[in-house]
């Protein structure tokens, strides 16, 4: 049973986050250890394994990058543990420039930081739309490449959050 089936969700990239969370809570209730106190060891073990699976599925499905990677896996391409480097020079030059601007932000740059955060959000949204179309068209290699780019954007968001914390907290 794949993660989407486990949550009775269609095997597609767009996801109903509210329904996902709601189903998650229901499923967790069904496998809660309290319900298995009086049961046999094997039943308790099975419930625990189920609960772990539900957790893994939830963490994977709620995150757009992991969800895309999982759909790619279901389609036959596993890039979760790949160590391949990206060599798209134009993309990487842009990444480096963005990392440089993040490193150069000071306490006086709140406006610039906010603007950059919005820009990143837009980049992430654009890549997610691209991934949706690529997955629909079964373009596995192209999807893999968009996921790789998305990972760099998410990393920029983390770096930006860290610098904001450093500057303003």
């Amino acid at each position: 049973m794949n993660y989407f089936d486990l949550f009775s969700l269609p095997v597609i990239f767009p996801i109903d986050q509210a329904r996902l969370s709601e189903t998650y809570r229901e499923l967790q209730k069904q496998t809660h250890p309290d319900k298995f106190v009086m049961k046999s060891d094997s039943e308790r073990l099975r419930a625990m394994q189920k609960s772990t699976e539900i957790n893994d599925a939830y963490q994977t499905l709620k995150n757009s990058c992991l969800r895309a990677q999982y759909l790619l896996l279901l389609a036959g391409l596993d890039i979760a543990l790949e160590q391949k480097t990206l060599q798209d020079t134009a993309f990487l030059v842009q990444q480096m420039e963005w990392r440089e601007s993040i490193a150069a932000f000071t306490e006086d740059d709140q406006d610039k930081i906010d603007e950059f955060a919005l820009q990143l959000q837009q980049q992430v949204a654009d890549l997610e739309s691209k991934i949706e179309v690529q997955l629909q068209n079964d373009e596995l290699e192209a999807t893999a490449n968009s996921i790789r780019q998305l990972k760099f954007m998410l990393k920029l968001q983390i770096e930006l959050a860290l610098i904001e914390e450093k500057l303003f907290d």
């Binding site: 790949e82 990487l92 480096m96 990392r99 990972k151 760099f152």
Partner: protein, 128 residues
């Protein structure tokens, strides 16, 4: 996770940080990135008329191991021909820095940066 002394040394005193003019005909630029961790690495080689690598510079946004790997290769490539530099492998880098398995991708990044720089140089000098 504990870093080896060599990683800490390169991280605290990185060798050859900086840039050359990427449009200079004697400069080879390699840009690589690791999607798994979002690290970005730029390695530049300055190649003399005798075909030897005279100088190298790097700029890396990444973890200590990625910075140490790129710093180390800037030292290793100096005085080598491009063909010799191309033989530097991630296994040599990770052995020298005693990188743990989870950080092997940092040494792969540095190896691929050398290869990308060489490809850039060959595209600038098709007959070299």
């Amino acid at each position: 996770m504990a870093y080896s002394e060599k990683v800490i040394d390169h991280y605290e005193n990185p060798r050859n940080v900086g840039s050359f003019d990427k449009d200079d005909q004697s400069v080879a630029t390699g840009m690589v990135g690791a999607p798994a961790c979002g690290d970005v690495m730029k390695l530049q080689l300055k190649i003399g008329e005798n075909g030897l690598i005279e100088d190298a510079k790097f700029k890396t946004y990444g973890c200590g191991s990625a910075i140490a790997s790129s710093s180390l290769v800037t030292e290793w490539v100096k005085g080598k021909t491009l063909d010799q530099a191309a033989t530097i492998s991630n296994t040599q880098i990770s052995a020298e820095l005693a990188l743990p398995p989870v950080k092997i991708h940092c040494s792969i990044l540095a190896e691929d940066a050398i290869k990308a720089a060489i490809t850039d140089y060959k595209s600038k000098h098709p007959n070299a």
